[in-house]
Point group: C2
Chain length 241, copies 2
């Protein structure tokens, strides 16, 4: 499985993904699930993926091919699309077409293939936007009521987000929130694993403000994780029934 989470806040976008891919429990590998596309100052798009690797890789390869294609226009290249809505629409269309083809190939073996994506970014002069794209190509958008989107193993890490994230959350707190949400997921589910990819996009920068790969054994992450466990246990002792 996978866990990817994105926050859309007043101050910017914060995106985090794990890197574990598995075909059964005995076949585990590390694959990047976060892809960034940018023309700094003009446009930034981040895509995070969950689901069948054959579907997500082929979809991303097709999106990249369209970007490099000199004949591509605003309806086929996410780097030429006029709006973030159009970006989501191109990705949704490419995802659903790719999935349909792969499902068709697999039909005689009675196997399924599916994938979903989170797409976030901003175009100069436009608003920051973040979408969750379903396997069928349709999508929903993050709003002030629900400023976060999750794909993959989303349940373990949801309670902390439900409690602390609002559109007014600072970028520093937002990074802490997604890392703690990931920490809960890593602890409770083997199919989500380190390293992690964290990207931060400040509002109106139209560029990746910071991007970081957090490796297994990263001292800052381990310290935060231990401090959170200790704080939770302290809180547990303090609360009375």
């Amino acid at each position: 499985m996978t866990y990817c989470v994105g926050l859309k806040l007043n101050a910017g976008l914060v995106l985090l993904s794990d890197t574990r891919t598995n075909a059964g429990l005995d076949n585990i590998a590390c694959y990047r699930k976060m892809y960034t596309f940018e023309e700094p100052g003009e446009r930034v798009v981040v895509v995070m993926t969950a689901g069948s690797l054959s579907v997500t890789q082929t979809t991303l390869a097709r999106l990249a091919e369209a970007i490099d294609d000199e004949m591509a226009d605003e309806t086929t290249s996410i780097m030429k699309a006029q709006t973030m809505l159009q970006v989501a629409s191109i990705i949704g269309h490419t995802l659903s077409r790719t999935r349909r083809e792969i499902v068709e190939q697999m039909r005689e073996f009675n196997q399924q293939a599916s994938a979903s994506m989170i797409v976030a970014g901003q175009r100069k002069g436009g608003d920051m936007r973040m979408f969750l794209i379903y396997p069928e190509g349709n999508f929903i958008e993050a709003t002030d009521d629900t400023p976060f989107l999750q794909i993959g193993e989303h349940k373990y890490g949801k309670p902390i987000l439900d409690r602390v994230v609002t559109p007014a959350t600072s970028m520093a707190d937002a990074q802490k929130a997604v890392l703690l949400s990931m920490d809960s997921t890593l602890r409770s589910n083997l199919s989500v694993g380190m390293p992690l990819d964290l990207a931060v996009i400040e509002k109106d920068a139209c560029a990746i403000t910071s991007k970081r790969r957090i490796l297994e054994g990263d001292p800052d992450f381990m310290e935060m994780s231990a401090a959170w466990s200790a704080a939770l246990r302290d809180s547990f002792v303090k609360v009375s029934i």
Copy 2:
């Protein structure tokens, strides 16, 4: 859906279930999912259920019928079974038989029916034991390595259990842990709902030590829930990345 959780600790058993049953989002009802059977001082058995109500109710009705049947023996009545293992085996057998019949009736409508159960208890002279019974009738048992079992919507409430529950946890802390685990689930998933049923069985009592229904708006539960939210937010502020 449902959320039921049981802890098997050195000091005793703690069991908690919600009561929400739904057929779609627009058909929600309240049904007890915790059933207790006891001959105080001699034997206590608690069964918690998740899954299709038709399967769980019919299974429980058959178990109750066998208890009342004068012809029943240790292989058919859970109140006559010689060991908790035999209790689990009778329940597993009854569950899988009931499920098979109902699935057969539904086959032409291409519908499924399934259910799982947690069974916990003690017989005088025996050990406390707790089992998770699968729809097929086979089961696993709680151990010192994994002193809790969950059925239904188990993911939201697992991180807190993973962090605080060990076999040495006190009975008071255990009740707090299951209630906080339920609180996280209630907040993040509509298909789990109040009221709650909480049962406590102290070691070697071979009887229900305490049993309580916690209603919507229960002031103690609301206070605990608010204190936990506040403590989590405090912890969140304190932890640094």
